[in-house]
Structure formats: C-alpha cells, structure tokens
C-alpha cells in the first residue's frame, strides 16, 4: 500500500550539509604520496625526539606487510594511499599561546562551526582543542587547567614537553601492529589531543576537541591519548566536520585511553563528517581505531558515539577490562542515509575479575544505506564473575536500506554471564497517524519517534550535546518532499 507517509519515508533525504564550506587558506602541504621520506619529514617538521621517529618507522615497516581488512560489510573501491596528502597545515604561524596569532580566517571558520575559540567567546565550562587538517590551531583554558596539574594540549606539544608520558603510553593500548589502519596512523599521524589527569583530580571542565578537515585531498591521521591517573575523572567530547568535496577523503585516527585505579574516562563523539551526496559521491572514509584499557582496579571507560557523517564508517570503540571490577560501556547511535555505509560496534574484552560491560547500540538506516552492528564480547576463564548486557536495536526507514547485526560472543567459564538482545523495527504508519491525530506534524512525529528510539544513548551525552544530537538526527533525516 503506497500511502502518503510511506512515500515520505521512502524519500527521506538529508538536508544540505551545513558545514560543507571550504576555508580559503594558504597551506603548507606535502605532495601526495606515502614513503619513508614523508614520514621522516613529518617527524622533522615536528622536531620530534628520536624515539618518536623510531616508533613511526617501525610502524611503517609493519604496515608495508599488511593488507586492508575485508571482513566488514562495506563495499568501496580500494583506497589509493599514494593519492593522499599526509601533511597539510595553515601557513600562518600557529599561535598556541595567544589567540591573536591565530589566522583570522581560521577563527571565522570555527565561529561558523559554532565553536568559538576566541578569548571573549569561550564556551562556558568547556575547554576546546581545535585541530585543523594536520595541526592543532587553538587550545583554550590551558593555563587554568595546568594550575591543577591537568595537561590538555596537542599531542605534538606533549611529545616535546612530556616525552616520558608519551613514551610510556603511546601504542600501549593500540599496538601499531593491531591493524592496517593503526599501522598507517602510527607511521604518519600529524597531530591530535593529549590529556593527562593527575591522581585525585576531577577535571572541572568538559574537555573537547574539534576536528576539521579542510584541504582537498588531505587525509586526517590524528592521534589522541588520554590518561586518567588514580582516583580521577574526565569527560571528553569530540566533534568532527569537513567540507563537501566530490572526492573521498581518508580519516584514519587512533585513540587510546588508559584508566588507572578507581578512575573514569567518559568519551563522547558527535561525528558529522561530510557523508557524500545522495548519489554517494564524495564523503569521508572513516577508519578509526579507538580503544580504552581499564588498567586499574575499579576503573571505568564509557564510550558514547553519535555517528551521522562519513561515506564509510569502520569503527569499534573498545574496552580492555584488565583491572578487577572494572567497567566498560558503549552507547552508540549510528544513522546512515542515502548511500552511506557503516560497520560499527565495539569489543568488550573481560580479563579481570568481576568486570562488567554494557552495550547499547541503536542503528537507523534510511535511503539505500547499509548499517551494521558488529560487536565482540569475550570472557576468559580468569574473568570470574564477569557480566555483559547487550542490546542492539535497528530501525529501517524505507525499503531499500539494509540493517545487520553481527555479534560475536565468546565465553569461557561457569561464573560469567552474557545477555544479548536485539530487535528490528520500522516507524509504523499507525504510530505516525497516532501522533498526527494529536496535532503533531509528520516531520515532528518522525523526529519524535527517532529521538525516543535513541533516548537511551542520548542521555549519556554531556549537557547540551544531547539536544544537539537530537537536532542533528532531524536534520539528517529531514525530508525534501514536504
């Protein structure tokens, strides 16, 4: 039965991507291509200590022997890594100490993105690190944080100023040999965020990084490392946008989190990279490895992600629950529309005793998109009393999209428990009619049902970001039929 609301659901289209503008800037960019020389140059430009160059070259050697993974339910042409720019930075001097030194064009860009980084316009309660192509261009609230011993800076800066911490932790959660993309990232990463929270400190601000890919043809290979020392807490949020280009752009990041005894990291992502147009032209290829290690006892790592952008998403934020009684959480909303493809989920590796994990995944597919949840729950015999609860729900909008659920549950030992539930649903016409009969417009009715579907995840987002996420969902699904 072809009725009005069903035809509207069939034709849901994302509203024009509002962050798709380009900033005209003079940049220092390497020519396209990957080689040992490129890696040497990156390291030299950044004036890195010897151990970093060694780390990069070792990763590059391993990378040369690896192949692109093929097990995901993703279909895309092979990425030509020689067609990528591995380093691109705004030419004007980067003023890390005073914002007057920041190129006004960049300041304008961030204002357009709704992220004021100028001194006067700082966001209340949030410290921001702004990463533009390959480098960090601004970092707010740094001094105030330093006074209580918190280090919040770009990873390049941390390599210079805190080499002992970098040396100890980089690659300790995600070894460079982990997969094809981590090896690549370890070899060529250009910047990223570094956070260290000292013992007995609850970080008073939300820490946040905004990633912006600007230059055409440039890849973004950022590296984030967050360490939360004993009895500490930090909440971190990242946002991502990119201009709308016809070509695909590669984003291959590595994020490592470490929590020591009784500490907690809450990591939230609102990913709104450019998704390509409705015919699948352009958009970001997002191949990201995010992993946290609950190294200390009673520690906790919580991932919350809202994935709406990217032509391709390949991303599994994971937790290694090493410390006894440690807790891992993964809350995810992944929305795909048009020709987008997402293969995303998590791994919860239970090693310590009485470790617990929770996975809540909500996938929404519309248009001709494909949305896959892929998740591993693994419990070894040492993990006595381990518990996992997983809930994966999919919602299909229209009849040309695909939703898949691919869990891997591997359990050993008689005191471990796993519970996995999943369901698939659609927005029913009867539901829409019910809401419309109460005077709510069709668009609002769809938005209301979707926000209800995502509620369990959005409530994990810090403060006003939940409202923002709701709005983002509506924008992405706004219909053009009217």
């Amino acid at each position: 039965m072809e009725t009005k609301s069903s035809s509207i659901l069939e034709n849901l289209n994302s509203q024009e991507y509002k962050y798709g503008f380009t900033t005209e800037l003079e940049t220092d960019s390497f020519p396209k291509g990957l080689s040992e020389e490129v890696i040497n140059r990156i390291s030299r430009i950044k004036n890195e200590p010897e151990f970093m160059l060694e780390f990069r070259l070792k990763a590059y050697k391993a990378f040369l022997k690896m192949t692109e993974p093929e097990w995901a339910l993703l279909n895309y042409p092979k990425i030509d890594l020689q067609d990528v720019i591995y380093y691109s930075a705004p030419k004007k001097k980067i003023g890390k100490n005073s914002l007057e030194e920041v190129d006004p064009e960049i300041l304008k860009t961030y204002e357009k993105l709704g992220i004021p980084i100028g001194e006067q316009k700082r966001l209340e309660g949030i410290a921001v690190d702004a990463i533009f192509d390959s480098v960090s261009v601004a970092n707010t609230h740094k001094k105030a944080l330093a006074e209580i011993g918190i280090i919040f800076c770009s990873i390049s800066e941390a390599i210079q100023e805190h080499p002992e911490l970098i040396k100890k932790y980089i690659g300790s959660v995600v070894p460079h040999t982990d997969n094809y993309f981590t090896a690549l990232n370890s070899a060529v990463f250009s910047d990223g965020t570094f956070i260290y929270i000292p013992p007995n400190t609850k970080c008073p601000l939300e820490l946040s990084t905004n990633f912006r890919i600007n230059t055409k043809g440039s890849g973004q290979f950022e590296r984030t490392l967050i360490i939360c020392d004993d009895n500490s807490y930090v909440s971190y949020l990242e946002g991502c946008t990119a201009p709308a280009f016809d070509e695909n752009q590669l984003h291959a990041a590595v994020v490592e989190l470490v929590t020591l005894d009784n500490s907690e990291i809450k990591y939230s992502t609102v990913q709104n990279w450019y998704a390509g147009d409705e015919n699948g032209k352009g958009g970001i290829y997002n191949f990201v490895t995010k992993r946290g290690k609950c190294a200390g006892k009673n520690s906790k790592i919580s991932w919350t992600q809202v994935e709406t952008g990217s032509a391709i998403t390949w991303k599994y934020p994971s937790c290694i629950l090493l410390g006894d009684n440690s807790i891992g959480e993964f809350y995810s909303v992944a929305l795909t529309n048009n020709m987008q493809q997402a293969d995303t989920g998590t791994k919860m590796i239970h090693i310590g005793k009485n470790t617990k994990s929770t996975i809540i995944s909500k996938g929404i597919s519309a248009g001709k998109s494909s949305n896959t949840y892929r998740g591993l729950v693994k419990m070894g015999e040492r993990a006595k009393g381990a518990r996992n609860y997983t809930q994966c729900d999919s919602m299909l909008i229209g009849s040309h999209c695909r939703a898949s659920t691919v869990p891997y549950i591997e359990v050993e030992g008689d005191s471990n428990r796993v519970e996995h539930e999943a369901s698939t649903s659609k927005i029913s016409e009867e539901q829409l009619f019910y809401l419309q009969q109460r005077g709510i417009s069709l668009e609002s009715a769809i938005a209301l049902i979707i926000s209800g579907f995502c509620k369990d995840v959005f409530k994990e987002l810090p403060g006003e970001f939940a409202a923002e996420a709701n709005q983002l969902m509506s924008l992405k699904l706004e219909n053009s039929v009217g």
Partner: protein, 455 residues
C-alpha cells in the same frame, strides 16, 4: 582454484585422495554422474575450509585431516540384528530404514514401508529408476541442486564420493501417520558419505526420526547430506539424534527448500558425538512458508558441537524460529552461528532466534553468534543469546524445600533442556534422550556441585 602450495601437506593429500577415489564412485545414471563430475571440480575450487572464513572461524577441522580416514567404500559388515533392536524405537518397528556406512540396506529395513504409498528409491539402481519415472524426475530436478554454485566443501565431497543414497518421496495429498525411523550406522576408520533426498508433494505430511550411531569405540567421519523439498502445503517434521559413541565426527548438511504455506520442523539433539557440525540452510521460497529449528547439545570432556544455521527469507510473509540450548562442561566447546537473512521486498517476515547456554565448568567454552541481516523494512526480527550458570536462587529454592543438591541440580538442568526434548515426536525417543542427558549430566553435576561448594 585455491593455491595448493599454500596449504599444508595433509590438505593436499586429502584433496588428492578425493580426486582418486571419486573416479570409482561415478554413478551409472547420467544425471547423477554429471553432477558428481561438477562436484569434484567444486572440491578443488573450494579447498579445505579455512578458519579465516567467517563460517569456519570456530571450527577445528584438523582431526579430519590428521586421522587419515579411508575414502574407499567401507566394507559393509554384517550387522547384528540385536544392535538394530537396541536402537529402534518400538513405535517405529514397522517403519524402519537402515544404512550402514552410508549404504542403504534393504535387508535390514522394514519391508512394509513400500505399502504405505511412499517411495524409497535407491540412487544407484538404474532398473528401479526406470520403473519410477516420477521419482526419476524428482531426482533430476533436485539432486545436488545448483552444485556448480555449491559453497560447502564437505557437501561437494559427499556428492563426488557418494556411491549410494536414497530418495524418499511422498506423493501429493498423502499423510503418513506413523513416524519413520532411519538408523545410520558407521564403523571404524571410514569417511562415510550418507546421502538422502526427501521430497514431499502438495499437502503431504511426514515425520521422520533419524539416529546417527557409531559402532563401539570406532573412529569415523560421517559426512551426511540431506536435501529436502517441501511442496505447497506440505508438513515435515525431522528429529535428528546423535547417538554416536564418543569417537565419531558427524558432519551434517541439511538444505531445505520450502514452497507456499509449507511447514518444516527440525529438532537436533546432540547427545554423544565426539564432534559434530550441523550446517542447516533453509530457503523460504514462497509466501506462507514456516520453519522452526531447534537444537539441544550436551557436551562434556573435550567434545565439540557446532551449529551453523542460515535461514533465508526470500519472499514476503514467511516465519522462522530458531531455538538452540546447550549445556557445556569440562573443556567442551560449542558454537552457535545462526543467521537470519531477509531479502529486499520480503515484507511481513517474522523471524526469531534464541541461543541459551549453561556453562558448568571453568574451562567450558561457547561461541555464540546470532546474526540478523535485513533488507526489508516491514519485518519483525529479534534475536537473543544468553550465557550463564544455573540460577542461584532457583537452586536455593529447591534446597529450602528439602531437595538434595545433586537432585536439585539435575532437576534444574533437565528442566532447561526439556523445552527442546518436548518437541520430539516419539515418546520412547523422548525418554531415551532424557536418559542419555542424565547419563551425561552425572559427571557434569559432580563437577558443578564441587564448584558450588567452593563458592
């Protein structure tokens, strides 16, 4: 063609052995023969299953390679009638089919079967085929269906190497009331190819209970393939019991194709195999078809059970259910790998999938993968998986009523599997399954009991 140079010596030898053996197995019947020839080609193209493939990720096929089973036709030993009597369910004494090492045995099967408006045709008997043109047509149409696209190595092996098998066919509008029992015996060192084709005509009804039995302490592989076609409105129920000695390996491949409003019920009871692998594929080809798949596995020592299930909803308005339950102790391992595939346009699909496991020792292992792959929006699909131990509160409740701990544990464990046992058609089979379960549990419960005492 896989690069044989990359494969280990055993694999190359195995495939070469199949090649050599197959030439002497070719059927005289042209339609079967040509498919066997295609199958041999598929065997070499596919190569031995690798762990890198998602479907074989958790399966260790080394024991098959390492034991050097003979692929030649195993000599048909004279079977003691006593053994048959032991495994035969009294309800089925008049409706018995027997195969030994993959060979259909007319002498051991009941003769009264043919009076029941049901055809049992030996694949390897050209004379018999000539007399039954309808059945010949069924074989031509359905035997080794789409063998040129076959993706299972072992099924291709079976087609290439089978020297004997049977068609069981029920004509339109015929209901066979009695349950038919099929006993498959295997003995020492054989890699047996057991093959059957089951065809139900329109609105036909049939119930079968199958047992795979190993003869005393013998090592063997039983590579069984069943092809099943249910015409419009047909009802078929199949109970499969693995009643082997603990040395056997059972590879069981069932491919069912369901037409309009047909109904297929399958219950797999894995009680004794050393290791077993069920490869079940169900294609729901016309609207209104319904498939209910259930399984129960009880594993101890280092036994293994693998259930790999694909239910394909290809058209609108079909239903399917999967319910698999397992009890795993010692260092046994189980895999549940169930998939629901809903094709584009298959609206009105209603599919469920549930896997529940009890782990009773610290080295017991389960890999559970309930998967959904959905390409239609108007569907109801759900799946679930649980792994756990016996509920402490339930144990306590029974203890507080004065029940002994061993009995309480046995009671709760048995109640866990009773849901599946209840589905079996024949009462004496149910009791037999309960007995075997309890026998298995005996050692298990002692282990479990110690664990609980330590807590």
């Amino acid at each position: 063609m896989p690069n044989l140079a990359e494969r280990n010596k055993n694999e190359i030898e195995f495939i070469e052995q199949i090649f050599r053996a197959s030439s002497s197995m070719l059927s005289e019947i042209p339609n079967i023969r040509s498919r066997q020839e295609t199958a041999i080609k598929r065997v070499t193209e596919l190569g031995f299953p690798q762990k890198s493939s998602e479907d074989w990720k958790y399966y260790d096929s080394q024991p098959i390679l390492e034991n050097f089973f003979t692929l030649d036709i195993c000599e048909i030993n004279k079977l003691d009638k006593e053994i048959i009597r032991k495994h035969r369910f009294p309800e089925c004494s008049e409706n018995l089919l027997v195969t030994v090492n993959g060979h259909f045995s007319k002498e051991l099967s009941s003769t009264s079967l043919t009076n029941k408006n049901i055809s049992i045709i030996d694949f390897n008997d050209p004379d018999q085929l000539k007399k039954h043109p309808t059945e010949e047509e069924i074989i031509n149409q359905h035997f080794a269906h789409k063998i040129n696209q076959e993706d299972s190595f072992f099924k291709a092996c079976n087609t290439a190497l089978m020297s004997n098998g049977f068609l069981l066919s029920v004509p339109d509008d015929t209901e066979i009331e009695e349950t038919i029992q099929i006993l498959h015996f295997s003995n020492e060192s054989c890699f047996n190819q057991t093959r059957s084709l089951i065809h139900l005509g329109k609105n036909a009804k049939l119930k079968i209970i199958v047992s795979y039995i190993g003869l005393a302490n013998s090592h063997f592989v039983n590579n069984a393939v069943v092809e099943l076609i249910l015409s419009e409105g047909a009802h078929f129920k199949l109970d499969k019991i693995q009643d082997d000695t603990q040395q056997g390996i059972l590879l069981y491949d069932l491919y069912a194709r369901l037409m309009k409003n047909s109904n297929f019920e399958y219950n797999s009871l894995d009680l004794k195999a050393n290791h077993s692998r069920d490869n079940i594929k169900v294609d729901l080809l016309e609207p209104g078809a319904n498939a209910g798949l259930a399984g129960f596995y009880i594993l101890n020592k280092d036994r293994k059970a693998h259930n790999v299930i694909k239910v394909n909803h290809l058209v609108p308005n079909c239903t399917s259910n999967q319910l698999y339950k397992g009890i795993i102790s010692d260092s046994a391992r189980a895999e549940f790998n169930g998939e629901i595939n809903v094709s584009e346009g298959a609206n009105g699909t209603n599919a469920t999938q549930l896997n529940k496991n009890l782990l009773l020792s610290n080295t017991a292992h389960i890999d559970s993968r309930p998967q959904l792959k959905i390409l239609a929006d108007d569907v109801k699909c759900s799946h679930g998986s649980t792994v756990g131990e016996l509920d402490e509160d339930e144990i306590f409740y029974l203890l507080s009523r004065g029940i002994k701990k061993d009995d309480a544990l046995a009671m709760l464990t048995l109640s866990f599997c009773e849901e599946i046992i209840q589905k079996v058609t024949i009462d004496s089979a149910k009791q037999h399954i309960r007995n075997l379960t309890l026998e298995n549990l005996d050692t298990t419960i002692h282990t479990a009991n110690t664990v609980h005492k330590l807590k």
